[in-house]
Amino acid sequence: MSEKTERTEDEEEVFGESSIIEIVLFKSDSCAFCPRAEEVIRETIEDFEASVFKFTVINVTENPEAAEEYGIFALPTVMIGGVSITGIPEPEMLLKMILSAKVYKKRGAGE
């Protein structure tokens, strides 16, 4: 089941030292495609060790300020490490995004 994590001041976590990759899904109560998008993400990341990811779901109906802050207005949108994709994502695309987020972090750490 979906355990919803509240968005915290975790910009540091997204771009900072931590090796955890944050996946953020923006959804709304009225969005017909959002439940499927959430399913795809959960199925894609379940093959990995749970500690690799932090999966946050932001419900824009309850928290429109978060969508405004990130400039997200089409839903569902998945954001991983500074890039995003709109619509129900394909698992391959999610994996690509996860990989590039990892590479980005490694590079960032080496500098």
Binding site: A37, E65, I72, T77, I85, P89
Partner: protein, 248 residues
């Protein structure tokens, strides 16, 4: 003729109300179309500024293109202090411009999305301010942000309906591409709106241009069918209802 009269929202553009039976029909969606540099954003922002300062109607300006700091700066030239209105809760500028740093880089799109996020963002401000006027500037940018035109068309209809259902009069701006003869990049702009206003800045000689305004349609109103002179003055946009544009 029936005695039924449509409630009018004063536009705050001197001279324009006279062309359209006193103002925009309340709760309608009005499209302001024009090529680059014709004054669409000024007209739309003036509609909100005057609404808040003269007619006690709070407004929400959703900017999809220009960053708020530039809008505030540009409007100050016409003596319109938007920051002051924002501070007093009579105006909200919703920054959805591409210049926002927190916005992630979009790397793709699947044709399975809606604009319920945008709707939630706008209605949140409408509710907070008790707003009666909403401007989306500019619709055209969506064509560059998203590829799935069919979805966008459908979603625009839903979005406009949701905003006007909340009791607001909605102004959409649409940029007409330079060589284009239509009303914008989607070809449906005119259907979205119950009123269409077109702004021109036509070359009338080798050395001069002339600004003008045309009310192309306004449902439920007897409007002028001529093209009228318009100027951008130190106090914003002004229309001369008695003057027919020399460019046409």
């Amino acid at each position: 003729m029936s005695d039924y009269t449509i409630e009018r929202v004063k536009t705050g553009i001197p001279g324009l109300d006279e062309l359209i039976e006193g103002g925009f029909p309340r709760g309608d969606t009005i499209l302001v179309a024009g090529k680059a540099g014709t004054g669409k954003s000024i007209l739309a922002t003036q509609f909100l500024y005057k609404g808040a300062t003269l007619y006690n109607e709070a407004g929400v300006l959703v900017t999809l293109e220009e960053p708020p700091r530039l809008i505030r700066r540009n409007m100050l030239r016409f003596g319109m202090d938007l920051a002051k209105l924002e501070q007093s809760g009579r105006l909200a500028i919703v920054d959805l411009s591409p210049s926002k740093e927190a916005t992630p880089v979009t790397i793709g799109e699947y044709p399975s999305f809606d604009l319920s996020g945008l709707e939630a963002i706008i209605l949140n401000h409408v509710k907070k301010l008790g707003a009666k006027r909403v401007v989306i500037d500019t619709l055209s940018i969506m064509a560059y942000k998203f590829r799935s035109r069919d979805i966008l068309r459908e979603e625009f209809f839903k979005l406009c309906a949701a905003i006007t259902r909340a009791g607001c009069t909605l102004l959409l701006t649409s940029e007409i591409p330079a060589q284009d003869t239509g009303l914008g990049v989607f070809d449906i702009e005119a259907f979205l709106a119950s009123g269409v206003i077109v702004l021109y800045n036509e070359k009338i000689s080798d050395t001069s241009r002339s600004r003008s305004i045309e009310v192309l349609k306004l449902r439920g109103s007897k409007h002028s069918s001529r093209i009228h002179s318009m100027r951008i003055t130190d106090e914003g946009i002004r229309v001369w209802p008695g003057e027919i544009s020399p460019g046409h």
